[in-house]
Amino acid sequence: MEIFKEVGRPDEVARRFDLAGMAGTHAIGHTRMATESAVTTNGAHPFTTGLDECLVHNGSLSNHNAVRRDLIRQGLSFQTENDTEVAAGYMTWKMREGASLEQALDASLSALDGFYTFVVGTEAGFGVLRDPIACKPAVMAETDRWVAFGTEYRALVDLPGVENAKVWEPEPARIYRWERH
């Protein structure tokens, strides 16, 4: 898994990293609107939750400072003031303590307070979770060949075959997961 982060317009950042020249089985993209900390390259998502794991977040957490303090006591360290980095750290900590990704996501529903749609990328696939109130938008689309997540349908509109895809809104507080085998 490789992570590319930069500050700038999405089309320029995509060009700078030559996204069009890349190939792979899955990818996660994120354009950040900073709510809890400054606009910096380090503050951009995704944050890595562990080897071959990353997390992007739409929303803002409200108890991230308290959770960060607890995680620091557990031995984790943080590079930014970013709330999403705390969510990523929480997942890492839970999995270090033996939880699966699903269990870590499930635990986060009670441990993390605030608005969130999380998309977690792993080596084998990705997972989606919306908080129980789910005010932040989310839409998913699936065909025989691909599955995709977006905040708006417009993000999915260029995918091949999307007009015949199964499209749905993920339910709140429910973990969705796709893996390659």
Binding site: S110, A134, E152, Y153, R154, V157, V167, P172
Partner: protein, 225 residues
């Protein structure tokens, strides 16, 4: 009938042309290839019908007076404010919350499912959903009617004011506890029948199968795990 292809025509030109239309001008418009764009056919103040072929984004038919907006396929529609009482909007299905939000009047018909927060803060609009609605629908609904022929998700009618909700099935055990279905006045049945007729299902749906939910004045508990 003007046909506007949004694959080649900027959306602003469509909306500007609709804004310039007065009564007596072109009354039927067709819009192609919206491809999820936001704000399609917003701010229309003329008795026209706009048929959209394809999926739209937020605010479709928002700030609408007098127009009818029909999306034959799917509408990922967002908020709309409909002041009109005579005309209305019809969409096939919407995955984008919140359909009919803050609507003041008119009729919104959704042939399939609506997603979360359908009818949030509705202020007089009538909404008929032939499928199901998602969570927190009719949140803070002040006035108007929401008819759901399928399921309603969690926290239906949280913090509701005086809007009336008619739901055929629901999953919430908590909702069943405070809803009373034993008797309902004929005038409610008449309202419901009128809405079902306007939505084109008056002959197919038994009015007695879609009872009103009488929700308590207190807010429902928000969903939690």
């Amino acid at each position: 009938m003007p046909t506007v292809d949004l694959a080649t025509t900027p959306l602003r030109e469509l909306n500007a042309a609709l804004h310039r239309t007065k009564a007596g001008g072109d009354t039927s418009w067709q819009v192609l290839n919206p491809r999820g764009q936001h704000s399609v056919a917003t701010g229309v103040d003329a008795p026209v019908t706009v048929e959209i072929d394809g999926s739209v984004g937020y605010y479709c038919a928002g700030m609408n007076k007098q127009a009818s907006v029909v999306d034959q396929r799917e509408c990922r529609a967002g908020r709309r404010r409909e002041h009109d009482v005579g005309r209305g909007s019809r969409v096939a299905e919407t995955h984008r919350e919140p359909a009919g939000a803050t609507g003041c009047g008119g009729l919104l018909v959704i042939d399939g499912n609506a997603s979360a927060r359908c009818g949030i803060s509705m202020k007089g609009i009538d909404i008929v959903v032939k499928g199901s609605v998602g969570h927190i629908s009719a949140f803070m609904a002040q006035a108007g009617n929401l008819v759901v022929l399928g399921d309603a998700g969690e926290a239906l009618g949280d913090s509701i004011y005086e809007a009336d909700l008619f739901v055929r099935r629901h999953r919430q055990a908590a909702l069943a506890r405070i809803a009373s279905r034993s008797r309902w006045p004929d005038e409610h049945k008449a309202v419901l029948l009128k809405l079902l007729n306007a939505a084109g299902v008056g002959n197919e749906v038994d009015v007695n199968s879609v009872p009103p939910l009488r929700l308590g004045a207190q807010a429902l508990p928000l969903p939690h795990r």
